[in-house]
Every structure is written in C-alpha cells, then in structure tokens.
C-alpha cells in the first residue's frame, strides 16, 4: 500500500532513467564472484561473526585492475558504488565514501538495490523508524527524530497500521539467528542512509527535476508522425553530403591552424591571467587598443569571419575599405545584421532606411549585386520581414570573403599593422611576485560601460560617414566663393 506524498520523491520517479545502474550491476556481480571477485573475509563483532566482509584497499585494487585505471579513479568509482548503495561501510556508516585503507565494507543485498521497481516511500520509512524506536527504546539520531515527528504528523491517519507493521517486523526479526539479524539490520540501515540521508548531506540519489517522458512506455505512433518522418528522410537523402575524408580533413586543418592560439594548449603571451593573477593579457587584447598583439593580427588572417567578429579587426578592415572606396558592402552587411537580430518593432523603419541608403536606384551607398538578387530583395521589401535581406546579405558577404578579404591581407594596411603589432615578453614571476599579483586583482571594466562606450563610438561613426549630400556641399562651396 503506498501513499502519494506531495513532497518530491528522493528516489527518482522513473527508475529506468538511471541508465548507468545496469552497467554497475554487472560489475557488482563480477565483484561478488567467489573465485575472481574481491577477496572476502570475516569480521568478528563481539561474539558473532559476519561473513563476506571486504576491505577498502582490496576493493580499490580490484577495480583498478579490472578497469585498468589509476588508483585515484578506482577510489572515485568505489565511492560511487557506496554512494548509490551497492556497497555499505561497516564502521563509519554515515560517511558514504570508499577509503583506500583497511576499513570494512559489505555488499548490499539485491533486495535493497536502487534498480528495483519499488520506490522507497514514506510509509516504509515510517515503519523502519518505528521499528528502530521499539528496539533502541526511543533513541534515534536527531535528524531521524525530526523525520519521525514529521511523519507522525503527516501519516497520522495510518499510524496504527504503521506501528502494528513495525511490531510484527520486530518480532519476525527476533526469530532469526543472531548473525542474520545483525546483517539484515546493517543492510536496512545502509539502505535508508542512502535513500533518506541527513540534511545537507550530498545524496547520489538526487536526480534533479523529473523528466516528462518515460522511456519505457511505448508511445503510439500515429500516421502523421510517419508522414513527417518520411518527408524528413526524403529530404535528408536528397541533401548533398560530403565524404568523411574531406570533412574530417577540414576539422584537422582547423585544429592545426588554431593550435598556437589555444591558451590551454600553447603558452599564452604574456601569461595566462588565471595562472599568474596578472591581467596584462586582457588589457593588451581589449576592444579599443591602439596597437593589437601579433597573435591577434595573425588570427584575423584565418578567415573573414574571424576578422569581422573581432571588432578591432573590423575597424582595421574598415580603414582599408575606406582607402579603396568600397565601404558600402561592409556597411550594408552590418545594417542587415542589425535588422536580422533587432527588435520586431524597429524592423520596418530599419528596412526603409536600408532601402534608401543602399538599394534604391541612385542611392548614396548603392551596393553592386546581381539583378536577380536585387529584384528578389526589392520585391521582399514591399512586405518587410526579418530575413528579407538574407539573399543580398549572403551575396555581399561571399563577395567580401572571396575577393576583398584576400586583397586586404595583401594590402599595405594589413602589412603595416602586422609590423606594428606587439609581441609581449612572457612573464617570469617569482613566488613572491605571484602572491603580490593575487593581492592586486582588480575587476576590470564592467561590460555595461564597455557597451555604452561602443554605442557612443557607433553613433559618432554613423554621423561621420553619413552620405554626403553633394548638392549641399556644392552650394556651400558656391557661397564661399
């Protein structure tokens, strides 16, 4: 008989979620094998002897041998076995860890394993506590006492039943032989230690919020699901795929290109701030630094995407484009990005400005795209939506990627910045210096301030690069004359 309690069940609702437990069990069976498993001995407790007792160091050595791992890993694995309740400690029953010494453990009986389908619910726990109460004449641990009081209140309506069950189980227990009784008591105590741990103790049984779908139920698949699947498979079959050798080759190339730039693999100049507590690396690579570092400049040459994502690189690219008088492509790309990622309410105004500035015939910053794309875009702008500039934007981006980017890399602008770029000396801190650095840690500039600065700069740049009104200029010059 079970009662559904409103409090979250500490043992997970859907036991089958714990996929790892099946594998654990097969390992446990091997461990318990009398010939090839962990060596078992006996423990003498006053007059009784408890059989099948294993030592911590023996278990860890067996695990280490079987799984070919280090002792540290084997110890961590052993602790997991104890935490999940497959093995329980005999001496310090409250601390659920496996120690690499001669402390004693025993295997838990399969009845109490976490994979069994029955859930340890509150009335079972109440019966257990009541039984303990009878036996120890009212001496429970403080947290158990707190639980007991709470359950007494909560399950008051069936308390008679609970007490009766407890008394019966106690009587049945007394009829067992002493060693069996001791063993069973230990097992039960270990079981409840795992499933009802004291407050603030970590429990391996914590599984987080319940998942909605039970993996074991067979969902009835209706015809529309099959239709969707068929549509998906057909589309997937038709889509173009690439040979593994080609795509894996590309991945290897990516890794080799970035190898020296990965701070976790190669050294970070001047030093990794997390290791030496000195933030020179971050100050040298800030957004608006005058002279960037050599590594940063090298990274710009990897791809157009890298160049544009690093805003300092984008600035440099803009300088180059200004010299070539082809800044409108990048400006259009940036405006299209803003449209794509902007708020829904600002879309129509942005689309209009973009049309007037870049796409309308005779526009001040007219971009040169092919007729078909231009036609599609202009037509789409009649009912502007978020992705209306996709085709044009991709076209412009590809143009920049295939042509402008490579010219930039060969240009004097880029070569100039390469020459000027800093190559900081690696730091060499003594332990005393490191301590000093640790004391001098500062939080750096807040991202909100950086963002505000960025917005100000953008506004200034927009004002400066506003399309020149030729007629106004001419009239000004006339007046001067």
């Amino acid at each position: 008989m079970t009662i559904r309690t409103a409090r979250p069940n500490r043992a997970q609702h859907f036991q089958p979620r714990l996929y790892c437990l099946k594998k654990l069990e097969s390992i446990l069976l091997e461990m318990q094998d009398t010939k090839s498993g962990v060596k078992g001995t006996e423990q003498k407790l006053n007059i009784t002897t408890i059989p099948h007792v294993i030592a911590g160091n023996d278990t860890i050595a067996w695990i280490s041998n079987k799984m070919k791992t280090t002792t540290e890993e084997a110890q961590a694995f052993g602790t997991m076995l104890v935490a999940y309740g497959y093995i329980y400690p005999l001496q310090n029953h409250k601390k659920l860890v496996m120690c690499n010494d001669s402390s004693l453990y025993r295997f838990q009986t399969p009845y109490f394993w976490p994979t069994q389908k029955w859930v340890p619910d509150d009335s079972d726990y109440a019966i257990y506590l009541a039984k303990r109460n009878i036996r120890k004449k009212g001496v429970l641990e403080p947290y158990e006492q707190a639980h007991y009081n709470h359950l007494h209140e909560w399950l008051n309506h069936k308390w008679d039943f609970i007490v009766m069950q407890a008394a019966e189980q106690y009587k049945a227990g007394k009829e067992r032989k002493k060693p069996d009784r001791v063993v069973f008591d230990c097992q039960e105590r270990a079981y409840w230690m795992v499933n009802r741990p004291p407050r603030c103790a970590h429990s391996a049984m914590d599984c987080g919020p319940e998942r909605l779908i039970d993996p074991n139920t067979d969902e009835k698949t209706t015809f529309d699901i099959y239709r969707r699947k068929n549509m998906f498979y057909q589309q997937a079959i038709m889509r173009s795929k690439v040979k593994s050798s080609v795509s894996l080759g590309a991945l290897v190339k990516y890794i080799t290109t970035y190898k020296n730039h990965d701070p976790l693999l190669a050294s970070c100049l001047p030093s990794n701030p997390w290791q030496t507590d000195h933030d020179a690396y971050w100050t040298l690579n800030m957004r608006r630094v005058e002279v960037p570092t050599k590594m940063r400049v090298e990274r710009w040459s990897f791809s157009l995407f890298e160049l544009l994502s690093d805003l300092r690189g984008r600035d440099d690219f803009k300088i180059f484009l200004k010299k070539e008088f082809s800044g409108e492509n990048l400006a259009f790309w940036e405006a299209a990005e803003e449209l794509k990622w902007g708020t829904s309410s600002s879309m129509s105004t942005k689309a209009e400005t973009i049309f007037k500035t870049f796409l309308a015939p005779g526009a001040p910053r007219w971009i040169n795209i092919d007729g078909r794309t231009m036609g599609l875009t202009v037509k789409g702008l009649e009912h502007p939506h978020r992705y209306v500039l996709e085709a044009a934007q991709t076209h412009v981006f590809l143009l920049m990627k295939k042509d402008t980017f490579f010219r930039y890399l060969k240009s004097p602008t880029y070569k100039d910045i390469q020459k000027k770029a800093l190559n900081p000396e690696p730091h060499n801190f003594s332990p005393a210096n490191l301590e000093q650095n640790a004391l001098n840690r500062s939080p750096g500039i807040h991202p909100i301030i950086l963002w505000q600065q960025e917005e100000e700069e953008k506004a200034k740049a927009a004002a400066a690069s506003a399309p020149v009104d030729v007629k106004a200029m001419m009239s000004k010059i006339d007046r001067k004359k």
Binding site: Y19, E73, V242, V252, Y254, Y258, Q275
Partner: protein, 357 residues
C-alpha cells in the same frame, strides 16, 4: 558552410498557398517543392489517403531510413583516428579572478535550470521550473533591485531547460521540457518561431558560430540531436545514435560539427557536412552519465562533466582521454570554456564553481 545551400529558395511564395513566408524545401513524390510551415503541417495531418494505411506508412518510413543510412555509409571513407603531436600545460584551480560577487538577483522560482549572458553584457536570461524564461537587465548601481525589472519573455507549457541569446540582446532561443524549442523577441515577448520535432523533453541547445549564424542544434530525451534552421523552423538534420537521454550539445568552434554528452556515459562527435557520427568518446571505467560538454578554443580538447563528480578531458582527434580532473564533491552540472579560451569553469551540485587554467 551548410547555410549556403539554403540561400536560394528559403523565402518567397509558398508553392501551395502562395503566401510569402520562410519556406521549407521538402520532397513530395520525389519532386522538390517549397512549402511554408503551415502547409507542411496540414499536409502531414490530412487523413489517410486511398491505399495508405498506418502499416504502409511505417514500412515506407523504414525503407527510407535504411536508404539514408546506405547513402551516409557510401561517403564514409575515413575514420577519425589522426595522430598529431601536442604538448601539455599545468592545471591549477582558482576561484573566480577577484572572488567578487558582481550582482545578486533573488528569484522567486526555486529551480533555475538555464541561464545565459547577453552578448552586450547588459542583461541576463534565466528560466527553469516556472515554465518561463525571464530577462533581467543589469545595472552599474549595486544597490538597485534587479528583481523588480525582471521581464518574462518566454512561456512554455513545461520547464525551460536551456536558453541562449542569439547575436544580439533582442532575441532569445529557449528549449523546454514540453519537447519544443522557440525563438522569442525580447522586447515584445512575441514568439517568432517554434521548432517541433522532438518526441520528448529537449534538454539543451547551442547556436552555430558560423558567419551566417542561422542554425542551432538541440538534444533531447528521445536520444536525438536535431539541427534546425532558425528562419523557417525546419529540422534540417537529425542524429540518433545515443542510447539514452542527451544532456548537452555543443557546436565545434568552426560550426561544421558538434558534440553531445549523454546519460549513456558517452560523448559523441557528429560531422554536419558528412551527415554522420564520426567519433564516440567512451571508456569502460566511465559508467556514469555525462551531463555537459564544451570545446577548447581550437577544438582539440573536449571537456565533459560527469555524474561521478569528475571532468574527463578528451582528445577530439585521437578519440582518447587526455586527462581527468577531480575536485568536485557532487555531480558536475556544467562546464564552459571562457570565450578567449584561457580557462575552463565547472559548476557542480556541491554549490561550487571551479575555474581551471
């Protein structure tokens, strides 16, 4: 990248209802057509035609699936086992750089499952068991009550498992336990696009870093990892090789591949261009599920956090474990590499965050 194949016909008039909208390219009786998402749904749900039964559709589904596997295998000419030389730094554990707490926002919801930082650094998004994802603007004033400015953006019918800002502060992508992902406009709270296709809870999502940035990958309890097009809501690719729930998906830095971490104690690496799984990261001694994964800056290392309180570091190319990081006292729930790649941060149920460098 993959997005280039969708440039040509993603927008325009639908072939069935003629309304201009984002289009999905599908095949009807082996002919390529472009339908808007509403027409696709209607077509999928129309009653059984003459000669069609549930059985015949099921058989067709299975034949197509086999054919797809055959097609994928034809192009599999090389396995992922490359040897490259590399050298090792030291690992030290630090707490955050200054151990300062910048902002503290009290939240009424007891379980927050997902949080994200806006690209500008001016706002954060969080969501969880309250079925919502809210955006909280940050301020420089430390005494300001940030909880008052909290704004609910996403509304799902079940818990929110993951959230992420897109390239700007104005759009939010969320994944939920109700099996869907959704794209929201932050300012108005409007739903811009929803993504249906998972048959169980979606546990995580990640946006593609590629230059055209229009796709994202999601992983769920139905053991599938799906790649979606954000514009049309179409499920572009799907990978089903895990044996249990996928807890975390993460794109490779170049955007051409992604990794997933699952309860079956393996991490798998999928290549998007070859459309298949190329590597499995597993070891006999690792039995407990992986709950999170992240790549280092170059993509050579894959950091995965497990439920046995350790973080395993895998060599992506060789497929072997490079090292193991101990230190946490409860399961590791998230690992993230910093954007500049200098350090790894791991969060755990033992209430600590550790930074590894």
């Amino acid at each position: 990248m993959c997005d280039q194949t969708f440039v040509a016909a993603t927008f325009g008039p639908c072939d069935s209802c003629s309304k201009p909208s984002p289009l999905m390219n599908i095949y009807i009786k082996n002919e390529a057509t472009n339908y808007c998402s509403l027409c696709v749904e209607m077509m999928a749900c129309q009653g059984l035609q003459k000669g069609e039964t549930l059985e015949s559709l099921k058989r067709e589904s299975e034949t197509l699936k086999k054919k797809l596997e055959e097609e994928r295998n034809k192009l599999n000419d090389v396995e992922c086992n490359v040897s490259v030389i590399l050298c090792w730094p030291i690992l030290i554990v630090w707490d955050a750089f200054t151990l300062n707490k910048e902002h503290g926002v009290p939240l009424p919801c007891t379980w927050v499952l997902a949080c994200a930082y806006a690209p500008s650094g001016c706002a954060i998004a969080c969501g969880g068991l309250d079925n919502k994802c809210s955006v909280i603007p940050l301020s420089l004033d430390k005494n300001e009550n940030l909880a008052a400015k909290k704004k609910s953006v996403a509304m799902h019918t079940n818990y929110v498992s993951g959230c992420s800002f897109t390239n700007s502060d104005m759009q939010l992508l969320t994944s939920s336990g109700d099996g869907t992902c959704a794209l929201w406009d932050v300012e108005s709270g409007q739903l811009l696009q929803s993504f249906h296709g998972h048959t169980a809870d979606v546990l995580s999502l990640d946006l593609a870093p590629s230059e055209t940035g229009n796709t994202f990958v999601s992983g769920g309890c139905d053991m599938k990892a799906n790649v979606w097009d954000m514009r049309s809501g179409q499920n572009i690719q799907s990978f089903e090789s895990h044996e249990s729930d996928i807890n975390c998906v993460k794109y490779y830095p170049s955007g051409d591949a992604f990794a997933s971490a699952s309860d079956d104690a393996t991490c798998r690496f999928y290549d998007l261009r070859a459309d298949r799984e190329v590597a499995v990261y597993q070891k006999d001694s690792i039995i407990f599920g992986a709950s999170t994964c992240d790549f280092s800056l170059s993509g050579r290392l894959l950091f995965a956090g497990y439920n046995d309180y350790a973080i395993n570091v895998w060599d992506v190319l060789k497929g072997t474990r490079a090292t193991i990081l101990f230190g946490h006292e409860n399961r590791v729930s998230r690992v993230r590499v910093s954007p500049d790649g200098t350090a790894l941060c791991s969060a755990s149920w033992d209430s600590t965050l550790r930074v590894w460098a």
